[in-house]
């Protein structure tokens, strides 16, 4: 037992002295470099703190440069990630800027007074029926104001204001199955009724059988309609259907002048309709 105790005492004394020597005398450059290489490879995050300066004493300059390069690389990788995110935002902003510039240029050529508004909410359940814009009665928006969209550097009919709140308004799209507009077809100015179908297409109705309605003909709002100013592009005829035996007029599909899927901003034309006309317009869909 005493022999074991002696051995234990010698062992602890030996290893304690060895440890203290390691603590007191800085280890050689090679040993310290190896130690840093091991610890840096296994726990690189330990070296990012304030202890870095203390830790890298007595280390060859080229190895120190290697460590610094690695840390710079990590910092730059983070920076590149941030910049990539920023770049994505910038490209979206550039696209928006281009679009707004185009719209501002167009708005000078629009002969009606009005205001621009952003689309703030589209309802998935009523995609081709309505959306909300970020302006309301506080901005002078009134029920039945005409809403125009811009596409291919041209203004086109998007719909009309249906409900007005102080800060926002609801727009009924021309593609809504409850929406319609009196329109003129082609250069002849033949009037017919364009109706929404609840899809991306419109339908033109009540076209006399003998009229020479052709695919590609442009349709604009007619002066005969109360709700919309005359001359606003509504769409183009895409398909003419033959007359059904029980009908005395023909119908056609119309591609809208503006694609509601790409609209971001709209131009709200102030109609300033008198109350009597408003009441009459109420009777018109």
């Amino acid at each position: 037992m005493s022999r074991e105790k002696d051995a234990a005492n010698y062992a602890v004394a030996f290893f304690a002295v060895l440890s203290v020597l390691l603590l007191l005398f800085p280890v050689s450059k090679i040993a310290n470099t190896a130690r840093i290489a091991v610890s840096y490879s296994l726990y690189p995050s330990l070296h990012y703190g304030a202890r870095y300066g203390y830790f890298v004493r007595n280390v060859p300059a080229n190895f120190l440069a290697l460590l610094e390069t690695d840390q710079q690389n990590r910092a730059l990788t983070e920076k590149v990630k941030d910049l990539e995110v920023k770049l994505l935002n910038v490209s979206a902003l550039v696209a928006e800027n281009d679009r707004l510039t185009q719209e501002m240029r167009l708005s000078r050529s629009i002969p009606w007074a009005g205001t621009w508004a952003r689309i703030v909410n589209k309802t998935p359940a009523d995609w081709y029926g309505s959306f909300f814009i970020g302006k309301g009665s506080d901005d002078g928006i009134a029920v039945n104001d005409t809403v125009l969209g811009m596409q291919d550097e041209r203004a086109g009919l998007a719909g009309r204001v249906f409900e007005v709140y102080p800060k926002f308004s609801k727009v009924m799209l021309i593609t809504n199955s409850a929406a319609s507009a009196v329109c003129a077809i082609g250069p002849a100015g033949l009037e017919a009724l364009v109706e929404g179908k609840g899809t991306w297409l419109l339908k033109v109705n009540y076209v006399p059988e003998e009229s020479a309605l052709k695919e590609g003909e442009e349709i604009v709002t007619a002066p005969g309609g109360l709700l919309f100013p005359a001359g606003v592009p509504v769409g183009k005829v895409t398909k003419v259907f033959p007359r059904e035996s029980f009908m005395n007029f023909i119908t056609a599909d119309v591609a809208p002048a503006v694609d509601v899927n790409t609209l971001k901003e709209v131009f709200v034309v102030r109609r300033n309709l008198s109350p009597e006309i408003q009441a009459a317009a109420g009777a018109e869909r």
């Binding site: 234990a8 602890v12 290893f15 304690a16 060895l18 440890s19 603590l23 726990y43």
Partner: protein, 159 residues
């Protein structure tokens, strides 16, 4: 043969601790398996081997650390000696005594290492969270590590 197995166990203990801290830390906390291995080796091995295990496991911890070199080696060597002294009076094989030993020695080792750090490198390496929580994790780890070491000792004769 025995020395090779002990070397493998030594490297395995250190690697397991490194892997755990890299993958299984919980709020930045992990049991100190190097400490647990040093304590279990001190309980199971004879005095000289126990102090040697403490010293070399401490060196492993020093290799991983960023501050002074030799601090853990000294701490675990002295801990192994303390365990040798204590185990002559208490049964260290029981679960409860291992829990108590792990808790008390964890705190003593941390305080001693803190003291060494302040003396030799004037830095404060132990955070309060680690100081308060790690001993309890060590107390949970030590009985498990002890069973593994005990099984290896019976099967292979190491330690």
């Amino acid at each position: 043969m025995s020395i090779i197995l002990e070397l493998i166990l030594y490297l395995a203990a250190g690697s397991f601790y490194w892997w755990w801290t890299q993958n299984l830390t919980f709020f930045g906390l992990a049991p100190n398996f190097i400490f647990a291995a040093a304590l279990c080796a001190a309980i199971l091995a004879g005095p000289v081997k126990a102090v040697a295990w403490g010293f070399f496991l401490g060196l492993y911890a020093d290799m991983l650390g960023v501050s002074m070199f030799g601090g853990y080696a000294l701490t675990y060597s002295l801990m192994a000696y303390a365990v040798y002294v204590v185990k002559r009076h208490f049964d260290m094989d029981s679960f409860f005594s291992q829990l108590v030993a792990a808790l008390s020695l964890s705190w003593l080792c941390m305080l001693f290492y803190q003291l060494l750090s302040l003396v030799f490198s004037r830095i404060n390496p132990t955070g309060l969270k680690i100081f308060l929580a790690e001993p309890f994790l060590n107390a949970l780890a030590v009985p498990v590590v002890f069973q593994v070491f005990y099984w290896l000792k019976r099967r292979t004769g190491i330690l």
